[in-house]
């Protein structure tokens, strides 16, 4: 392998990469217009970028810590410094894992409880096959995600929507449940909860939330038609939802309607392919060109 840079530059390179991937890169991706044309590829890119940011941050910490092996007889101060770098890295990882654990446990408990309640109170209706109907003056529809998912539609939504619009709504929710979009969002939310301000984790979480809506819309318009889906969005967009609901910064019903019915072209496929390639590159290239030489060097150093 050609060494483009001295191996001792690894900590600095990884730190720089982590900073770029945690700051300017998500900011740029969050502002871009094209993700709404290729939501699946864009979602993969967000995941790849987030994973790469995390790996380079952890890699930076560990490579700093292992710099100690380059000294013949390190003094006590040097040793302490390197041990703190290692401890800090472990702390970052532990915090993320803990956040994911807390969030996952909380969500699963709430969903189990909600599923149980829906089963006890929700009736069924021939107009919305497979869904539970809740009697409520507010028009809403949602799915309770999980291994055993539930589709829920309010009686008011049933009254408001025509049959083909109900079908579009159900297909949208089924797509969420089938593709386990909840798990995708859970990952980004765990990251945001662990590091709320330090990195642009909020941009990543909000972008992912918007992209899974688009993916579910695409599935729904394939199965139930773009126009019924568009009409359902208009009808349910202004349903009264009380204040305090999360989700600012997501795509709005307007942007969702505007992208419906767009034909898939060669240009879409080209764009998607390059985004997938970028997603792979962003994870693989730093690993192969920076992390691997470091590990190889380290193993020589220690043997």
């Amino acid at each position: 392998m050609i060494e483009a840079f001295p191996v001792t530059a690894t900590p600095a390179l990884l730190t720089g990469l982590a900073l770029v991937l945690a700051g300017p890169a998500p900011a740029w991706l969050a502002r871009a217009e094209w993700p709404s044309r290729v939501p699946r590829a864009a979602l993969v890119l967000w995941q790849a970028m987030t994973l790469a940011a995390l790996l380079s941050a952890l890699g930076a910490g560990l490579s700093v810590a292992t710099l100690i092996s380059f000294y013949e007889r390190p003094g006590i101060v040097l040793l302490a410094l390197h041990i703190s770098a290692f401890a800090f890295t472990v702390l970052v990882l532990a915090r993320l894992l803990w956040s994911a654990h807390v969030l996952g446990t909380n969500l699963r408990a709430r969903r189990r409880r909600h599923r149980q309640l829906v089963d006890l109170v929700g009736r069924s209706d021939g107009r919305a096959p497979g869904a539970r109907i809740l009697d409520a003056p507010e028009a809403f529809a949602y799915c309770v995600p999980g291994v055993s998912s539930r589709l829920v539609v309010s009686s008011s939504a049933l009254d408001t929507l025509s049959d083909d619009e109900i079908q579009a709504v159900l297909e949208h929710e089924r797509a969420h449940a089938r593709a386990r979009h909840d798990l995708v969002l859970e990952g980004f939310t765990a990251l945001h909860n662990a590091f709320p301000t330090l990195v642009r984790s909020r941009a990543a979480r909000d972008a992912a939330a918007g992209l899974v809506e688009m993916l579910a819309d695409d599935a729904a318009q394939r199965r139930a038609g773009a126009v019924p889906l568009g009409r359902a969005l208009v009808r349910l967009a202004h349903a009264p939802v009380p204040a305090g609901t999360i989700g600012t910064g997501h795509v709005t019903p307007l942007t969702r309607i505007q992208r419906l019915g767009e034909p898939r072209t060669i240009a879409h496929h080209g764009l998607a392919s390059s985004v997938y390639a970028a997603a792979i590159a962003i994870v693989v290239i730093p690993t192969v060109s920076v992390a691997m030489p470091w590990l190889v060097h380290l193993s020589h150093q220690l043997s």
Partner: protein, 134 residues
């Protein structure tokens, strides 16, 4: 196929649990399996043992309370219907209290939209026009 069958069976059980709860709420007194079975039999064909199984499941989930009266078991709802609906609506409408505002649900339209109605209608009209042209 297998998944469909399992889903079907699960939906059926869920529907039965709901029907049994409805009866218990309607009876408004501790009821025996026979009481519930009799009430349910007016509207559907159902086996006595099925009612027993469903009541047992509900008791395990904590939705009904089981007590012993001589040789028969008595069942009554452990939860008030209105309280249950209120709790359900809190989560459904996203008005759960506390620090954790993370939604447990995936909604069709997530937020009360700030888009104005005219813009939404215009976008829809444009979509309808596009689709018609095709």
């Amino acid at each position: 196929m297998l998944r469909d069958m399992r889903d079907g069976r699960r939906t059926q059980l869920g529907e039965l649990e709901r029907a049994v709860m409805e009866q218990l709420w309607a009876l408004a007194r501790p009821a025996t399996v026979r009481d519930v079975h009799q009430a349910l039999s007016q509207t559907r064909e159902i086996a006595y043992t099925t009612v027993m199984t469903v009541l047992d499941r509900l008791a395990k989930k904590g939705s009904v309370e089981q007590s012993r009266d001589g040789r028969a078991y008595l069942y009554r709802p452990a939860v008030d219907r209105d309280e249950l609906t209120a709790e359900l609506m809190h989560e459904a409408l996203g008005t759960v209290d506390g620090d954790d505002r993370t939604s447990a649900l995936v909604r069709f339209v997530d937020t009360a939209s700030a888009d104005d109605t005219a813009a939404l209608r215009a976008a829809l009209a444009e979509l309808e026009r596009r689709e018609q042209a095709q």
